[in-house]
């Protein structure tokens, strides 16, 4: 992550935060996503030896969790959920997934945390304007892949991870919804 990318990310982060982050209080429900991420990260580490985004089974759900938080609870919930999810992943992993050559693991964790919180916040922003669009927020991680390793954007299995995350976010959002959209109308 070069300085320009860092500043751009920070700008996006601050802009989103100023728009919808009214307070930094933690809601107990937001932390449920962190707990879910903990379970998933431990499972992924058990089955695949390391917590990684480059996995078609666990990684999409990990990416979907902050988006789910944002789509259900709004911008603040998305941010807090994203932060909680990725801090938990950092805790479990101990080293960042997908280290790029020459990069310190901390860079990947910081970048993932920013992208996770941003995707959750984006889902929260889209929640009221484009309810379905909120579930496409995991596609934000394509930017992460591009920053880490441009060639990853040409790998179908890597592109599949955020796409699958969109699907999981939508299905989990539907499963957790009390009243489906069609029933409301």
């Amino acid at each position: 992550m070069n300085p320009v990318q860092s500043w751009l990310l920070l700008l996006v982060f601050v802009a989103l935060a100023m728009r919808g982050l009214d307070s930094l209080r933690f809601d107990r429900r937001d932390l449920y996503y962190g707990f879910a991420a903990f379970v998933l990260a431990v499972l992924q580490q058990s089955f695949h030896d390391q917590v990684s985004l480059d996995d078609r089974w666990f990684a999409p759900v990990l990416l979907a969790l902050p988006v789910l938080a944002g789509a259900r609870g709004g911008i603040r919930a998305g941010f807090v959920g994203g932060l909680a999810v990725w801090l938990v992943i950092a805790l479990v992993s101990g080293a960042a997934p997908m280290n790029a050559p020459g990069d310190a693991p901390q860079n990947a964790i910081v970048l993932c945390t920013l992208f996770g919180a941003a995707s959750g916040g984006l889902a929260g922003v889209l929640r009221t304007r484009r309810p379905l669009g909120a579930y496409f927020a995991p596609m934000l991680f394509l930017g992460y892949f591009g920053m880490r390793e441009e060639s990853l954007l040409t790998v179908g299995s890597m592109l599949a991870v955020p796409v699958l995350a969109c699907g999981w976010a939508a299905l989990l959002g539907l499963a957790l919804a009390e009243v489906p959209v069609s029933a409301e109308g």
């Binding site: 695949h48 030896d49 390391q50 990684s52 985004l53 480059d54 996995d55 078609r56 999409p60 080293a95 997934p97 997908m98 280290n99 790029a100 050559p101 020459g102 379905l132 579930y135 880490r148 390793e149 060639s151 990853l152 790998v155 179908g156 299995s157 890597m158 592109l159 599949a160 991870v161 796409v163 699958l164 969109c166 699907g167 999981w168 976010a169 939508a170 299905l171 959002g173 539907l174 499963a175 919804a177 489906p180 959209v181 069609s182 029933a183």
Partner: protein
């Protein structure tokens, strides 16, 4: 007291009644379509060209034998880059090895010394390439199972390439026979810390992120004694002239 026949019909059909609106929900459509699209992306990424590790190995071997790294990238024998990826994929039975990026980086650093170590991130694994000219080594420092597969391909499958011109003072017509026996645990980060220009058996050491050391052995034999085509036999004892232990290393690490 309640009786079964008193139960209202709505209770009996309530699970279905609860499910149907959800199936009609646009989120279900979006989720289903995106999961299907993701699955298609995963499936479409499967290499299709090289079907057996042996044939893939021969193609890689010929390509490496006939040109430098830059040539290898565009070598018609390898076809498209995706096929090159499939090639190594089949070799190691590891999915989606990004050999293109690996080779491109190899071409960039090919003029450097042999101690150059590059890493390529594939499927959450790390592959280290040790490059000099048209000499490429791929090491997996990722998950143990896949790592062992790759080792089986490149180590016990008799990985043999013509030596590189960037060996500098070393003879050009050496064949490298790499018999890699490295026990790299998960999340290992490898860097070559030792190398040798002389024929014989040398030791590479990889430092790992968690502080342990691993050993790999690389054998060099003269070109005349190593077959290039067909099934490559395992390294025979006595081929080449083994270097004495402690042979001069290049880029000796910590």
């Amino acid at each position: 007291m309640s009786y079964a026949h008193d139960a209202p019909t709505a209770q009996i059909s309530s699970p279905v009644a609860r499910l149907m609106p959800r199936l009609r929900d646009p989120r279900f459509t979006v989720g289903f379509v995106m999961l299907a699209a993701g699955l298609l992306l995963v499936l479409s990424d499967q290499p299709r060209r090289y079907h057996t590790p042996d044939s893939a190995f021969r193609v890689l071997h010929r390509a490496l034998s006939s040109g430098d790294v830059a040539t290898l990238v565009d070598d018609p024998a390898l076809g498209q880059h995706a096929d090159a990826a499939g090639l190594v994929t089949q070799l190691g039975e590891v999915e989606y090895l990004r050999v293109r990026g690996l080779l491109e980086r190899a071409a960039q650093v090919g003029s450097g010394s042999l101690s150059v170590a590059e890493r390529v991130v594939v499927q959450g694994l790390r592959y280290e390439t040790f490059v000099a000219g048209r000499e490429i080594f791929v090491q997996n420092a990722g998950r143990n199972a896949l790592h062992n597969q790759l080792l089986a391909a490149f180590g016990s499958s008799r990985y043999t390439v013509r030596s590189a011109r960037q060996l500098g003072d070393g003879p050009r017509d050496l064949v490298q026979r790499a018999s890699v026996r490295a026990r790299l645990g998960w999340r290992g980060v490898a860097e070559a810390s030792g190398w040798s220009r002389v024929p014989g058996e040398v030791t590479l050491r990889w430092s790992k992120s968690h502080g342990r050391w691993d050993i790999a052995t690389v054998r060099w034999v003269p070109v005349a004694q190593a077959p290039f085509d067909g099934d490559l036999p395992p390294p025979a004892a006595g081929t080449g002239e083994p270097a004495a232990p402690g042979a001069p290393h290049e880029g000796e690490g910590p």
